[in-house]
Symmetry: C2
Amino acid sequence: MTGWIAVAGLSPGNEALVTPEVRAALDDATDVVGYIPYVARIAPREGLTLHASDNRVELDRANLALSMAAGGRRVVIVSSGDPGVFAMASALFEAFEALGAPAIDIRVLPGITAMLAAAARAGAPLGHDFCAINLSDNLKPWALVERRIRLAAEADFAMAFYNPRSASRPHQFARTLEVLLQVCGPERLITFARAVTTPDEHIKTVTMAEALPEMADMRTVVLVGNSATRRTGRWVYTPRRAD
Amino acid sequence: MTGWIAVAGLSPGNEALVTPEVRAALDDATDVVGYIPYVARIAPREGLTLHASDNRVELDRANLALSMAAGGRRVVIVSSGDPGVFAMASALFEAFEALGAPAIDIRVLPGITAMLAAAARAGAPLGHDFCAINLSDNLKPWALVERRIRLAAEADFAMAFYNPRSASRPHQFARTLEVLLQVCGPERLITFARAVTTPDEHIKTVTMAEALPEMADMRTVVLVGNSATRRTGRWVYTPRRAD
């Protein structure tokens, strides 16, 4: 039996957003590896072993997958959203490189990343040039995050922020909002999209002057419009044209 | 009969990347509206009228959809990739706003946008903070595009470029490469992903020193790594960590 790894995106939560390509890989797998809440989304079946692990052990998880695939298992590594956006694909290639790039069949199967699901629910806030920034500073210095926010505002990008706030670092998102208020001004629109496409979904758009740190948690993706982003009816959108 | 509009993303080309949510909307529709090559992807069936239109008539298309939905039709506006990324969602809301935000049931159904499909095929080049820039200057001045590229490089974002090159504006992508060579240096990795996930797919990664304008056309999405992006085996990835 020839083993393989598929690094698959499960979308943010609604099963109707999981692509047929990902579904086929799951149907053909012998093992599923991932963070506990993502593995919990996979229906158990005979012949499928579920390997759920805690947060922040991405390299262990990647090494487990590589070792099982080398032994002939068919392994799906599951991420929420898209595996290439602040998720398991980079961690897998880090582990793969550390092992000397072994001859293992790897595929990356894209998914609907949270910012695009959130943008769809809000309207089209990312309808012009935009950037995506992971606000967690587990793997980079906070000064770099702040510098990127300032340059992104200067470029007038719409912005999507992943992992805005956690119990262990509550002050950073407050600081993010301070910087955004300063560089984008009080009228800029900001959308808090929590648990997007799940039964717990909550989407709220306010001005930067009204934004509060408590409006975000780790299940929230935050979208900031560019200088032209506007409301129409219950929607928020960024026009295609810019001057 | 109550009309509605679904603005749906068909993914870049592989039908196995079309979400079940989009498939269900297409199954329930009376009309499909879109650019000719995207409408050509929809199987004809009884009770479904296909309205294919040429490029650059996005507002006409949006107005047609709004008018049909107001008359009780169930209309899917199809985009390649994701409708919220350089596609029909913003155009629809522009037309909707111009009509005074009428009471029409609108949903935006996300899809796999080209940069994420391309990144998956290449490895994980967008695995750290990144930006997406539309290189077409139909709707914005070229100076703004160039300014955004410079600021994005200064922020050390990985970058995705949509619509890099067309017959009517061949010189701009050459200029983009000149700017990138200057601000990112000759060793920076750049991936040309043409017709990604289709039978015509061609993916090629080179250094910025080796990049040529002719490597891109309008079916290409171009991915530029950040300063840490590297190769391992046949893959390209951006590490999660940054200093």
